[in-house]
Symmetry: C2
Subunit: 505 residues, 2 copies
């Protein structure tokens, strides 16, 4: 099979690794390992899996220096950002350990046998059970938090689903090192290797989702990648869910009073949000609606100065670089004027200049409102807040929509914009920036197509729901029920005869 | 446009109705009405929508005599069954009124701003919001409970989603009359017509799911119907979820001690379960595994006597009759021996004879394990419980799997069979029958493909989840939040900073 290579984006050098693309025969044996692992994860129970997830977090922490250095050499994202991202990964595993200990995610419910208006009704009990082995596709732009050691893996293992991860070609060595840390934690608990395995190569990714043992797939990636994976899934006789977190423009509206009150701070915030991590974030703001007024001019001037003084940024791989340069050219061709694009030293590796562009709201078109993955942002100048309604309808539905309001912006306007953005996004951000997605119970990272292809989140406690299905027991003997569904069990929240019992955890 | 006709299955007579197939132009105006209705449903709030659902239930009850008579003339299901089904429909609306008053379905969660290991984190709040207008496809076999006035409509309206229902061609007049009752309840609350509208005709059904205003579709029907609807959905640029409840064989295993202890009662139960409603239930048991032993023989003999003495049953429409006769012939061709099939009077309308067939477990094949929609059941005779494992793997995944055990059947066997059936179904039934799906909080009516194409239920409180999506608010001002997400609100269960607060309803 083909050797897997890795690229140092800082110098553009590609070199061979010790890894090989995964053959169909190897995938077959990984699927067999996963079946055994599924039983082991089930036997661990919630508390055992919570211990496993904590141990995985500890293993990632223990390998921190090596993991961060490896990821830096493959992504050019920088040690500070990668160190923080690894903390985020470990935090995700620890959060799902808490989710397991809480047990509310099981949605346990008991309806005792009863006489009803529809006649005698049997005892029915319901909770969520794991789907089986699942496929996790690593993302280019988060070598830890949305890859082998990412939130998809953490939530799937928490659910009790073994994971076969497809390594992103931008960071095969990081993927391998991450899997080694996780597998060490599993082995330390006498667990089998099939709890987490990794496949390499595009064809292996397609074979993976075609494999009968795989019961769901999760992807953070492009619409194109999602289409390719869906096409492979469509070859199955039994459909499986694909949870895709895809493409997002993340419009930000700055209202006049906000620009007047804190235009300088907003300029700093916008600059950091669209250039951080090389602008290679699904939550990067691609469009900022700024008033066409003196306070708006001041904000844009401040933003332009920061961009003009910025250094070049290293992109993750050739495909992203090519796409960024093409999309940037398309923005200019569609009428966007370049406000700032610093000169950078003759291109070293995959380095590009950040760019700030501007159009008048009347010029806004579908092309200008398309996602440009990388350090580019288009400032859209508007005259009146009332003009924004039609403009926002041109922006594709996104993961997020943001509004900055000041003391003199009227509530009716804010509410109308919030309603518009709510219909077209999954997270409304007020007086802030969409990047920096909090890892927490209430988080939702999703949105209408094309930002995702499903109604689920890929960040936060409820992302575990993707890997679970309901199962009901009717008239089951007590000894056969999962302990969480037995009478008298009080360890988790349950709905009993329609009433929520929070339990005594 | 074409006139809609209706069939009396008792005499096979087809006649024209006052209804017409829906044109694309008419659909366009229904979509516009639905948009207005969505705002009205949102403005009602949870308590207002609960009042609406109670009023709909009352309206169905008020029109009971007319609705039941109309449905009987179109379906031949009989007044008693249809009267009970209408009670079920009304009960579903009332249950979702309770679900709304409880509010737990919103999955409300609040994470206050905090210092975290990942740095300062913003205030994030999440709850579920309605998807928008949805399409509901009526089922042939439940003119009330899974049609225009069915659980899909009840759960969608509860969620806050206007419904455009596609009437099943087997009962257009019942569909129309049901919609009139619902719309009267809406009008009595000064609501708009677009809350619930109905389209007629196959082409209108396809246009409906292609319409940009439709955000999800629900279907109880065949795999073929689901494929046709999915093909229409695939023509959209934005994918929408299709929640299909499709095809199910519902195997029942009778263990030796159960047969010995209560074979006569089980024979009665099996007979009622596979012939009730003409066997036209998605939960009809199609395969019964019975011991090849003297007690098994006694059970089968008792069953055979009941079938032999049974009357003919009226099927719902020509397509179901044709399919039933073809599938029954296929069972015989595949080696099933007819144990009983009463002679019935020269076929009046769509009347057929119930049929009981038998095979030895060693003869079981994919053809014999296929769903036969109608009053047919195949008895599969087995020698040892250990032989069942391989046999159950041949049965397609189903909505349900049932086990009858007696005092002398060992727990290890019961557990092994339960695990096997759990992996291949959505509801495990013990010492009972899969038909008669309880309407309650803990119910789950779903299962792996081909019994459904999704991980959701179409019966019970959680079926509302199909028509909701998560939305997060970050740093939102208190006045802009939904009341359920404001600090200090205690009317519903919420998760606050990770801890479940059951609220004070």
């Amino acid at each position: 099979m083909n050797v897997v290579s890795t690229l140092d984006p800082r110098n553009g050098q590609r070199r061979e690794t010790h890894l090989r693309e995964t053959s169909d025969a190897e995938l077959e044996s990984l699927a067999t390992l996963a079946a055994t692992a599924g039983q082991w994860l089930a036997d661990l129970g919630r508390s055992g899996r919570a211990r496993l997830l904590d141990a995985v977090a500890d293993a990632l922490d223990a390998d921190r220096a090596d993991l961060v250095a490896t990821a830096d050499s493959e992504t050019g994202l920088g040690l500070a950002r990668l160190d923080a991202e690894l903390t985020r990964s470990a935090t995700q595993f620890r959060m799902f350990a808490d989710v397991l200990r809480d047990g509310g995610y099981l949605e346990a419910a008991i309806d005792h046998a009863a006489e009803t208006v529809l006649g005698p009704a049997p005892d029915v009990r319901r909770m969520l059970v794991p789907l089986g082995a699942v496929a996790v596709f690593g993302a280019s732009n988060f070598p830890f938090a949305f890859s082998v050691a990412g939130g998809d893996t953490a939530s799937a293992l928490a659910a009790g689903c073994p994971v076969i991860a497809k390594a992103h070609p931008s960071h095969p060595l990081t993927s391998h090192a991450s899997s080694q840390a996780i597998r060490r934690a599993v082995r330390d608990m006498d667990g089998p290797d099939g709890v987490l395995t990794v496949v390499y190569g595009e064809e292996a990714g397609r074979s993976l989702v075609r494999h009968p043992a795989i019961r769901a797939a999760a992807l953070t990636g492009s619409v194109g990648a999602a289409r390719a994976i869906q096409a492979a899934i469509d070859e199955r006789t039994d459909p499986i869910p694909l949870y895709g977190e895809l493409s997002s423009v993340n419009p930000i509206v700055v209202l006049p009073s906000a620009a007047a009150e804190r235009g300088g701070r907003i300029a700093e915030g916008l600059f950091a949000s669209f250039t951080g991590s090389g602008g290679q974030l699904c939550t990067k703001p691609g469009l900022a609606f700024i008033p066409a007024s003196p306070v708006g001019d001041q904000l844009v001037d401040a933003l332009r100065e920061q961009v003009a003084a910025a250094a070049g940024v290293v992109l993750l791989n050739e495909r992203i670089q090519d796409a960024f340069l093409a999309e940037e050219a398309a923005l200019e061709k569609a009428g966007a004027r370049v406000l700032a694009r610093p000169r950078i030293a003759a291109a070293d590796g995959l380095t590009v200049a950040p760019v700030l562009l501007e159009v008048d709201l009347t010029e806004l078109s579908a092309t200008l409102a398309d996602e440009c993955f990388g350090p580019a942002m288009v400032v859209v100048r508007y005259r009146q807040a009332g003009d924004l309604d039609a403009a926002l309808a041109v922006v594709p539905p996104s993961l997020t929509g943001a509004i900055h309001a000041g003391p003199d912006d009227d509530r009716a306007t804010v509410r109308r914009l919030a309603d518009l953005l709510a219909a077209r996004s999954g997270r409304l951000v007020f007086d802030g920036y969409p990047t920096g997605v909090r890892v927490s119970w209430a988080q939702h990272h999703g949105g209408p197509w094309p930002s995702t292809n499903s109604l689920h989140t890929s960040v936060g406690a409820t992302s575990i729901r993707r890997f679970l299905r309901p199962l009901a027991w009717q008239g089951a003997p007590d000894w056969l029920l999962p302990e969480e569904l037995r009478d008298g069990f009080t360890g988790i929240p349950r709905r009993v005869d329609g009433l929520l019992d929070p339990g005594r955890p």
